[in-house]
Amino acid sequence: MKITMRVLFVLLYISIFATILAGILAILFLHLHPHFWWENIPVFSAVYGFVGCVFIIVASKALGHHWLQKEEDYYEKR
């Protein structure tokens, strides 16, 4: 288990590095056809993925905690 985890983390670091590098190289050397201005930022998708994921978790948990989540027998009790 420990070894597999270590391999996975090495893979993760490689893919972080590779996707960022590819993003930068693509902006520099390829003729992409961006539709929106932010597509010219080489790491936009990376930032959006990270921030978006944190946002989804925090916002949904807040919604659930304060409003939507109820005990399991909520409907039976009423």
């Binding site: 929106f36 597509e39 978006g52 994921c53 989804i56 978790i57 939507l68 989540q69 005990e71 909520y74």
Partner: protein, 606 residues
């Protein structure tokens, strides 16, 4: 020249032979039916029967078309038939014949909807679809399934009535019986069109009308839920593409829907309900695609192609996902994230097949979600809808987070020691998952197979470097955020309120009111009226009570006995299903009578 044969009728008629067959013959038979339907579709594609339309009947002055053939109906028919084969393989071991019958009727009527060329035919199959799927929900055989089934059919009956009323008003206002794209506008003359639209988006589970989906699907049996995932929502996408391409409100509804499903998936503890919320989320992409599908524009064609392709791919990977979680429930008997974890070592094959579905839904390059979802996103970029683009990308993040990370993490890992014993599911379940997972990968690697079937010519390069790099960054960094916050993502033993609250809580109050104060008032009025009648007509009190008792009997015992769905459900539970067939026949007769009345009404009115 061979006469055309409706692929849907292979299922509809084929269904009635199932109870007569036994053992291995029956198992082979339910797999044979999709195979026959598939061969018919191939023959249609080859043009063996000619161009179509087929099976046109003149009925009370209307030209009904049961077989409209064009690229759009064919691509949906293909995926429904292919998916049904995998699903029957998954369900081949179950003993209840009538569950097969319900599934066959459900799929057959969905094909009926797909090939329907006119609104009356559409309505007819639409209703069979709703009722057949109800029985699949009820075959969950629990109290929860019973309740969810009742709520399910309540919503769908409402949708069906909207559809019927919409069709009648549409015809009355001089609309055509043909099922083509409706003229959309603002004003009371479009009331019929609005009602038809409402019926369609109810079936597409668009919030706030979509709570029935996450309410009912997870309550079906392990095998039944797999059938439910594919047909109702995707046939709704088909009819929306037919009837309402380019209706702008769909873009916004779709984008909201994509995020709505994601938010609820964070909160959900039931593993299949979590996946059900991701059906809503994924169908959101398709709904948005339909909304952007304005005729005759490059971006519009891209959007319609995207919606169609995504429906095709979605059916495959969602089947894999539901099959995977179904397998977990089958071998462990547990369905909550809080009660699962650490069982990877018992079922690695199931895990990896599930992950192919998860990679597909998340849009990993080389899997089929990537080649279809990005078409819809691309269409939003071509239109210049910045906020829609951002919402859809955010929904992609959420999809990978839940289906690809949180759910498999929570079910198969998350704990150091397994919570319970487990094993791989029976061979047929694995084989069904394997076939569907293979198709997911095949389409991801050779998108041309799917692109050649789409309604418009495709000018889209999914593996353009920009797309691949952006998607890879998105997924890798979603993973990092997940890993950092994974302790926050454990399931909690709660349920989540959805819009079904509005008919579950006030509904109960209404019934309590009816049973209590309303009944008391009614009884009081009854007595007073009878007293008055006695007084005025001089009826001796004794005969009056006899008459009253008889009337009471008729209304309180006989009529409810005919239409007592609770009874039907109880009988399903006790496996006395043969008795139910009588009640089903009553319902069918009632429905046919209703249809005839309606048609008479239409004909005499016009």
């Amino acid at each position: 020249m061979i006469e055309w044969f409706h692929p849907g009728f292979v299922y509809l008629f084929g269904a009635f032979l199932v109870p007569l067959l036994k053992g291995k013959v029956k198992q082979a038979y339910v797999l044979l039916l999709p195979a026959i339907a598939f061969v018919i579709l191939l023959l249609i594609s080859k043009g063996v029967f000619g161009e179509g339309p087929f099976w046109q009947f003149s009925f009370m002055g209307y030209e009904l078309t049961l077989g409209r053939i064009d690229p759009l109906s064919m691509v949906f028919a293909y995926i429904f038939v292919i998916a049904s084969f995998c699903m029957f393989l998954y369900a081949i071991h179950i003993k209840e014949d009538w569950q097969h019958v319900a599934a066959l009727l459900y799929i057959g009527s969905t094909l009926g909807v797909v090939f329907a060329g006119d609104l009356i035919t559409l309505f007819f199959f639409w209703e069979i679809m709703a009722w057949a799927s109800l029985f699949i929900v009820w075959y969950g055989k629990t109290k929860a399934a019973s309740g969810a089934g009742f709520r399910y059919i309540m919503v769908h009956s409402f949708g069906g009535v909207c559809l019927l009323a919409g069709i009648l008003i549409h015809l009355h206002n001089g609309g055509s019986i043909a099922f083509d794209s409706f003229t959309w506008g603002i004003g009371s003359e479009y009331l019929g069109v609005y009602l038809i639209f409402l019926a369609f988006i109810i079936n597409a589970a668009v919030p706030p009308l979509g709570a029935w989906l996450a309410d009912a699907y997870p309550e079906a049996s392990v095998t039944g839920a797999v059938f439910l995932t594919a047909f109702t929502t995707k046939s709704a996408i088909y009819v929306l593409i037919r009837g309402f391409p380019g209706v702008e409100i769909l873009i916004w509804l779709g984008a909201i829907m994509a995020l709505y499903g994601v938010v609820f998936a964070v909160l959900e503890n039931d593993i299949r309900r979590l996946l059900a919320y991701h059906i809503i989320s994924q169908v959101g992409y398709m709904v948005a695609g339909v909304g952007m599908g304005v005729f005759g524009m490059a971006a519009g064609n891209m959007a319609i192609n995207g919606a169609t392709a995504h429906a095709f791919c979605h059916i495959l990977y969602k089947a894999v996902l539901f099959m995977g979680m179904g397998a977990v429930i089958e071998v462990t008997g547990r369905r909550k994230l809080t009660e699962l974890g650490g069982i990877y070592k018992y079922m690695p094959i199931t895990f990896w097949l599930y992950m192919i579905g998860a990679f597909s839904i998340s849009g990993f390059p080389l899997f089929n979600g990537f080649i279809s979802k990005t078409m819809v996103v691309q269409a939003s970029a071509m239109w210049g809808y910045a906020s829609i683009w951002l919402m859809l990308e955010l929904a992609s993040v959420g999809t990978f987070l839940h289906t690809g990370l949180k759910l498999p993490w929570g079910v198969w890992f998350a704990r150091d020691t397994p919570v319970c014993e487990a094993r791989e599911p029976p061979w047929n379940m694995l084989a069904a998952m394997g076939i569907a997972a293979f198709l997911c990968t095949l389409l991801g690697v050779y998108p041309a197979i799917l692109y050649n079937m789409l309604p418009y010519t495709v000018h889209y390069e999914p593996y353009a470097p920009g797309h691949v790099i952006a998607m890879s960054q998105l997924l890798v960094f979603t993973f990092i955020a997940f890993w950092l916050l994974r302790d926050k993502l454990h399931g909690t033993p709660t349920i989540t309120l959805d819009t079904d609250w509005f008919y579950r809580i006030p509904g109960k109050k209404v019934i309590k009111f009816c049973e209590g104060p309303l009944m008391a008032t009614a009884k009081y009025m009854d007595n007073r009226l009878m007293g008055m009648a006695v007084f005025f007509r001089g009826i001796p009190p004794k005969s009056q009570t006899v008459v009253e008792t008889r009337i009471d009997n008729a209304f309180h015992e006989r009529v409810p006995a005919l239409l007592n769905f609770q009874n039907i459900y109880n009988k399903i539970k006790e496996d006395k299903v043969r008795e139910i067939s009588y009640n089903v026949i009553y319902i069918l007769i009632a429905m046919i009578l209703l249809l005839i009345f309606v048609l008479f009404g239409v004909v005499t009115k016009l």
